[in-house]
Symmetry: C2
Subunit: 105 residues, 2 copies
């Protein structure tokens, strides 16, 4: 069961503000300053969040002149989802087996 690099991704997803940022980026790529204009937090706070999102590969950045535009990588979400689902399925399988044993089958 390779939880591997999965835990930090969930840690990143376990913050409301970060979801706000992801949602805002869903409307289209944006810079930290642009996001700061739309969200009720400072640009610096947003930059920190973008840093952790980029760290776990949920977001990528591209420098355009004097600004840095951020973009969501949806595939990463799907990947994390697939891995989580595999783990959940494994648990269900095991629980089902235990239940059968418990029922004396």
């Amino acid at each position: 069961m390779t939880t591997g690099t999965l835990v930090p991704v969930f840690a990143a997803l376990g913050d409301e503000t970060r979801w706000s940022i992801l949602a805002a980026l869903g409307e289209g790529d944006a810079s930290a300053s642009a996001l700061a204009g739309r969200l009720p937090v400072t640009r610096q706070a947003i930059m920190k969040h973008l840093a952790v999102l980029q760290e776990v590969g949920l977001v990528e950045s591209e420098r355009v002149g004097r600004e840095v535009r951020y973009r969501v990588i949806g595939a990463q979400l799907s990947d994390a989802a697939r891995r989580l689902d595999a783990i959940g399925a494994e648990w269900d399988r095991r629980l089902a087996a235990i239940k059968q044993i418990a029922e004396g089958l």
Copy 2:
């Protein structure tokens, strides 16, 4: 996009110790004390973790005499996974559309 009660679940999954507990419970139901014997943390620390896991519905408890046995609910993991996958897919769809526009199609 109903992130709803999803964020706390990810927050709960964003901790290595909690995964250790889930993994240990995967071997079979166990009490807090039993888990404390297998993991390098105190029983009280484990109890706190079990509390947050139960809070978000990843685990359920049952009192048996003087002890309280905990059990993983695998279906909850699968559910969170499905919801996350839906969000990821939505993002991919949107990104694909943007890409087409960008390519002048």
